[in-house]
Symmetry: C2
Subunit: 343 residues, 2 copies
């Protein structure tokens, strides 16, 4: 089993804690290490470290290296431009094919939180087995717990079981609120976790079929010789690829897609309010970190990472974050608007 | 006419804009200069600069000197300890008596805002004339415009007029809300502005009568010879004086106290909400200063003096202040609680 950790992402939703130089995957949101470190630790007992690759942005390559010192320099790949998931997965698959054409590769977002490692491993092994037997593209689906409008949904076909999973009937893009409620009520709808398992040969076959223009651009990688040449070519070609997700570009079009329902806990920590589920509150319902003086403050999330004190008086239901990069004061109901902030 | 600017005050109510190193009187709250500068400019055409003294805290003596470069070093007196107004006024009067025993002295708080300078001068001249004729202690009273609980009140005796003023019937300490409402409805109640005019000899006489212990401590100043000796003795004795206000220690006990109703505008800018009356609002009712990005923000006061950006989303009726010394997020209704903050 090979692993590709997807550690791109600009992390605008956790501003000012996250910035281009410190995106979400590098944040220590739980207190146990950065999301990237936790993702690595979650997989390292299942896969030898030499088989783990991290794809990330150029600006944070060295930060990623510091977070996972176990990986050698050439296992941390800086994408010279942000191009969504398909070009990254295509390049990763082409690289892995050189030595492991018959192996499976696991694609893992590096900014999600999963704490039940045993169940996580079991699911990955089930997905791995299914990927080998079916030669299909296996996704891990999360059982929805709320009518979430921020995720894509996977509709399983209950008639076509495959191991512990199902064949996929269809993908549904981020729904509106009413549609999300309907999905939540249906039995075979899952959140798309962004965790995929497939044989290197299977995903390449699908990429050649559904994204031929992308694969044409990357064609020189097929014949590139030495590793130095290969990565140099990668750097040159990658910015020329189209920005497209593997979901939209491949999975929604492919016929041989499966979903294995996740049995582990999963939290994408998509925005500040998501922290409420993983942090403990004080007697006034506040989640507090850093030097904070509260007076008559209720149900707030207050994070002070700056070097100066922060005081709150007579406020309620606010997200207040102060760092060396900025100060945010946001009503909890408006956390989705944080992405609008451009300085 | 001699002037004593009272520029003590720790300015806790404007934290984090005000700090011990930058109390309220040094803040440029109006955009036209610090309150201290404005106070000096308000008086400088009425009194020769060599007759103006500033009494301030040791920590900000040099800052005060930078604010009023017109004053020589020995006109800016650092109190070696905070001792409220009576010891300061007593020492100032003893110093001024050396050269001007028969003159009047004006005591002016350095952290109030008055914009109608012509009317202000006229009132001071009226108070000055009354102080000379009556040999009494003359206060300037502000006609209340709201049932303010944060000020002391002066009750005039309408039967006993004196020039444009009145003899004082009594002083009333900061009232509760119901009492403040009654005071507001009464005709001859005034806010105590802290502006006083009296002959040097008159205030000293009252101090000897009502605060004999204080004057006993300061006795060596009466015979101190050269200015260097005088100020050295002041530094030694001042910390030994009791902390007492001239209002409580003298004015409330003295018989010959007068009040001249102020005809000028007056704002003590006692807390953040007071800024609302002197700053203009944007279309959303916000008062904004510095690098601020607002989304769905209404009726807030947002001051960003830090070097990093500040963003507000979905908030209302808040005072948000970010400086190099701290961050405050406070509901407008709770601004009085800011004094509680201790870091």
């Amino acid at each position: 089993m090979l692993v590709v950790l997807m550690a791109g992402g600009s992390g605008t939703r956790f501003w000012p804690l996250s910035t281009p130089a410190r995106p979400k995957q590098l944040l220590n949101l739980t207190g146990d290490g950065s999301l990237l470190q936790l993702t690595y630790q979650r997989i390292k007992d299942l896969v030898p470290s030499e088989n783990i690759y991290v794809f990330t942005g150029e600006g944070i390559q060295s930060a990623v290296g510091r977070e996972i010192p176990e990986l050698s320099e050439n296992q941390i790949v800086a994408e010279p431009a942000a191009r969504n998931t398909a070009p990254c997965i295509a390049a990763a698959a082409l690289w892995l094919r050189r030595k492991h054409p018959d192996e499976t590769m696991v694609v893992l977002p590096a900014d999600h939180l999963i704490t039940d490692i045993a169940k996580f491993h079991r699911c990955l092994k089930e997905a791995d087995a299914l990927a080998r037997v079916s030669k299909g593209l296996v996704t891990l689906g999360i059982k929805p717990t709320r009518a979430e409008t921020g995720f894509g949904y996977i509709e399983a076909d209950p008639e076509r079981t495959a191991g512990r999973g199902f064949a996929v009937k269809g993908f549904h893009e981020k729904p509106d609120s009413a549609t999300a409620k309907r999905y939540l009520a249906r039995k075979h709808f899952f959140w798309n976790s962004g965790i995929f398992v497939w044989k290197v040969s299977s995903i390449l076959e699908s990429l050649y079929m559904h994204l031929p223009e992308l694969m044409k651009i990357l064609k020189p990688l097929e014949s590139a010789d030495k590793p130095e040449i290969w990565w140099k070519t990668f750097k040159e070609l990658f910015p020329k690829t189209p920005s497209v997700s593997v979901d939209y570009g491949v999975l929604e079009k492919a016929a041989n897609v499966y979903v294995v329902p996740a049995t582990f806990d999963w939290n994408d920590i998509g925005s500040w309010p998501a922290l409420e589920s993983i942090r403990s509150r004080d007697a006034h319902g506040n989640i507090v970190q850093g030097s904070v003086r509260q007076i008559e403050t209720k149900d707030c999330m207050i994070i002070n990472e700056s070097s100066v004190p922060l005081a709150t008086i007579g406020v309620k239901d606010l997200i207040i974050v102060s760092t060396k990069d900025g100060v945010l004061v946001c009503h909890k109901d408006k956390a989705q608007e944080i992405r609008q902030i451009k300085f």
